[in-house]
């Protein structure tokens, strides 16, 4: 077998880095469907998976791809799919199945400009609210936003870790800009990568309750074929996994699905800051727009504007507390994203009128020029 971790220095695209990150995380099943600009992830997995004892399958559509990775995960194999806007829309129902049945897996959305077929070859960040609320019903989700190929490598490993720990599908919301960007990327030695795996049940198999949370609020997970005889359903269920059609059971199950995330925000939320300590103006950004924002901070500082950057590495769950705290320190927020205001709405909500919250964004098709951010800062100053 060939090594699962391509240790060394590479000139690598974001899409390939994502695939390599998945392999390093222990992903051994990929089901997908070709779509620009995510196709290269599937192509790379098709080449690499059989070499490392894994299996690749090209499904008939994205609905089937999402279903297949859930099935693979239930059989005990770490699994992933990758897509872009139209395919992401098709995955929404089975994403909900993964959330309801607490099935770990990773879904990558290399965003392109929408709605509909939109601009297939040009990037955007317009699916961020879909990532949060795209499947029906009330739930919590974890979403990561990489800003370079190197970042995509490591955050894909993080995505698998979080999905295994908290038992849910984790979304990587990257974009065409990063997916197709070639940069220097380093894959560490395999022994330096410590990956997480789902908690396994202990004790008598016939008494095992597959949805009874353990001490940390997460239920141990039995895989198919391990002799536990579990039942798993997308219907509202109790801790035995049995359907219960009552408002009480619904309240209990949804509370569990949301609280396992809400009670662990400190362990899940990841942010980075740049020159934020003494900043009067806080830029909030994520993904490819972080790069424009970094340049804008330096340029603004040169012009005497005290700007700083808060980068959201995880976008969901949203760092509400952090934005609230910042809103007591800064004079204004500027959210930078390639859409007409999605995460901007969250920043506005958490700033709660204490300070103005502005948006620098457009409908997609290109990155945000740093000048536009500097100009917005100048107008605020």
């Amino acid at each position: 077998m060939k090594p699962a971790v391509l240790t060394g220095e590479h000139f690598i695209t974001g899409d390939v880095a994502c695939a390599e990150g998945a392999l390093a995380a222990g992903c051994r099943f990929f089901a997908g469907y070709p779509i620009t600009p995510a196709t290269e992830i599937a192509e790379h997995m098709a080449v690499r998976l059989p070499d490392v004892g894994g299996t690749y399958i090209q499904m008939e559509d994205e609905i089937a791809s999402m279903a297949a990775i859930l099935g693979a995960s239930c059989a005990g194999v770490k699994s992933m799919t990758a897509t872009s806007g139209p395919g992401f829309s098709l995955m929404m129902e089975n994403l909900g199945l993964g959330i309801c049945t607490e099935t770990p897996c990773v879904v990558v959305n290399v965003q392109r400009a929408g709605p509909s077929t939109g601009l297939p070859t040009l990037g955007a960040q317009g699916d961020m609210m879909q990532a949060r609320w795209g499947s029906h019903g009330h739930y919590e989700i974890i979403t990561l936003a990489p800003s370079s190929p190197q970042d995509l490598f490591y955050l894909t490993i993080t995505a698998f870790d979080l999905s295994e720990i908290y038992r849910l599908p984790v979304l990587i919301m990257t974009d065409e800009g990063i997916g197709h960007l070639s940069e220097r990327g380093i894959c560490p030695v395999a022994s330096a990568i410590k990956v997480q795996t789902r908690i396994k049940p202990k004790g008598r198999k016939d008494r095992f309750k597959p949805f009874l949370p353990g001490p940390k609020g997460i239920a141990p997970m039995a895989n198919a074929g391990e002799g536990y005889g579990i039942h798993v359903t997308g219907l509202t269920h109790d801790e035995r996994g049995y359907p219960v059609m009552t408002a009480e059971a619904q309240a209990e199950m949804v509370a569990h699905l949301t609280n396992k995330i809400r009670n662990n925000l400190d362990n899940i939320i990841r942010t980075e800051s740049y020159r934020l300590e003494d900043a009067e103006f806080a830029i909030v950004s994520y993904g490819v727009s972080t790069r424009s924002s970094l340049a804008a901070v330096d340029e603004a500082r040169q012009q005497g504007i005290k700007a700083g950057l808060l980068r959201l590495v995880t976008v969901w769950p949203f760092p509400e507390e952090l934005i609230r705290e910042l809103s007591c320190k800064v004079k204004a927020f500027v959210t930078v994203e390639i859409n007409l205001g999605q995460i901007h709405l969250e920043v506005q909500r958490c700033a709660a009128g204490r300070v103005p919250a502005m948006l620098v964004g457009h409908a997609g098709g290109t990155v945000i020029p740093p000048d536009h951010i500097v100009e917005a800062l100048r107008n605020l100053n």
Binding site: S65, G71, A72, H231, G234
Partner: protein, 284 residues
Amino acid sequence: MSKHGSRSEHPLDDLLRTDRIPHIWCPGCGIGTAFSSTLIAMKTSGIDLQKTVMVSGIGCSGRGAGYIKLDSYHTTHGRAIPFATGMKLANPELNVVVFSGDGDLFAIGGNHFIHAARRNVDLTVVCVNNFNYGMTGGQAAATTPCMARTTTTPTGNPEHPFNLPFLAFAAGASYVARWTILHTRDLTKAVEEALLRRGFSFIEVLAPCPTSYGRRNKQKPLDTLKLFQDRTITRHGCSPADVQLDFERGITLGKFIDQERATYMDMYDKTCRPQSSMDRNRAV
């Protein structure tokens, strides 16, 4: 013992979640019989039941997964087959049985069915065909006979139904059979054969739905069974193109296709996997 009175032992108790009985199926429904045959076949086939999984979609038949005391997955509407495909490919040691209805497998899930058959994924698919959407109260399905009345075709169904065995055969299934719930011995034997046949196996099971379909089509519960007795003809090896399903002219039953063909995994291992890496899919 069940909380519902003095219920006596059932020969399938060891394979049933008896704490979930009574089930949701109506009096006169045929799904229970198809389900029993499937469970009996699982036992008689000698397959490792700890490595056997049932996957269902949504609908009356889709509830099957909830009553079997094995690993069982009740998925989304129409998606049992792609879910089962992921499961089988991730762990080829599993025996994966899809038990679901005609609406689930052939309308919303039709595309997945033909692709899984084309790939010859090693699954056993048991489809209970009751000619309509029972759970939602009796709407027209892709299997509803032409001119039949349903809640959405009150003056008669203007569409023609699929010939399911022909569809399965054309798509590439390795095993294709059709029986009714009246032919329980043949049906049980067919499921047993399907479980042991490598590749994509498909069994259509005709079943009465007196509550939703029968009462709108002049079929009282026993009438449908009488038709299953009187109008059926068993023709093993019949070309799937000639298989009939017509309550007036006749219903063809039998085993139509039973042939070995390389499975998806056989082809994948041979074509894509270097001999040095046959240690596939490390489980977590």
